[in-house]
Amino acid sequence: MTPLAGYLLVAALLFAIGLGGALIRRNAILVLIGIELMLNAANLNLIAFWRYGPHPEALTGMMFAIFSIAVAAAEAAVGLGLIISIYRHAQTTDLDRINRMKG
């Protein structure tokens, strides 16, 4: 039986990796990937807490994770749409070069 802390640590590690990627990479798509990883880490936490929580039959954590997955799908669609739109406009997805504050 794996203790809850194990899952939490893995989630924390994934979160840190995602954050690091989002902070370091220059490609906007990879930043988005990093954010997806962070979201997944959060989902892992939700599921883990649901599994080890006092009332798993209430399904709260599970529902939260399912909704979070759905919202993440929407977020990915909009985010990638934005990136494509930015790319059309600026001909690059390099975040270091997309730093103008006006169109």
Partner: protein, 166 residues
């Protein structure tokens, strides 16, 4: 701690690391799907069958594909010549490490108080469906609205300029 957990975690973390460090963007996306699969397996090991399969269906079947498409549409698969990391990558790395340190600290600090033993909950898909249609019906409807709005929004954002240039 069991061996499957270690294997799966290692797979997930390796996938995540690869996704964030590889030079070729497409490789990153593929590594990302490995990480997604790993997380789905972690869900399964937590007896969350539905969430695990939903994770595979949505993240690998949709999000990863979407990412790949976006990469191809923005010519991101060509590795840039001037490096893939931002100029201040060291700062970013430090901050990420700090975040992990804080989170790990928090987990370890509270570890003694956590429940480690719990009977596997018997949750069928039917229960989840009933919950979605009963107690959580309002969030479900809102998510449906959100998804619709997001779909329309994504299409409009991505099509806008094209419509103008035509």
């Amino acid at each position: 701690m069991s061996i499957p957990f270690f294997v799966i975690s290692a797979l997930t973390v390796a996938g995540g690391l690869a996704a964030m460090t590889l030079k070729n963007t497409v490789h990153c996306a593929l590594a990302l799907s490995v990480a997604f699969a790993g997380i789905a397996l972690l869900f399964l090991s937590l007896d969350a069958q539905f969430a695990g399969f939903a994770q595979i269906l949505i993240y690998i079947g949709a999000v990863a594909i979407l990412v790949v498409f976006a990469i191809l549409l923005t010519r991101g698969s060509e590795t840039p010549t001037d490096g893939v990391h931002s100029g201040t990558w060291l700062v970013g790395l430090a901050i990420a490490a700090a975040v992990f340190a804080v989170l790990g600290w928090a987990v370890l600090a509270s570890a003694p108080g956590l429940h480690d033993e719990a009977a596997a909950p018997v949750v069928t898909v039917r229960d989840i469906g009933n919950a979605l249609m009963g107690r959580y019906v309002l969030p479900l409807e809102i998510v449906a609205l959100l998804l619709t709005a997001a779909t329309i929004g994504a299409v409009i954002v991505a099509m806008h300029e094209k419509a103008r240039t035509k």
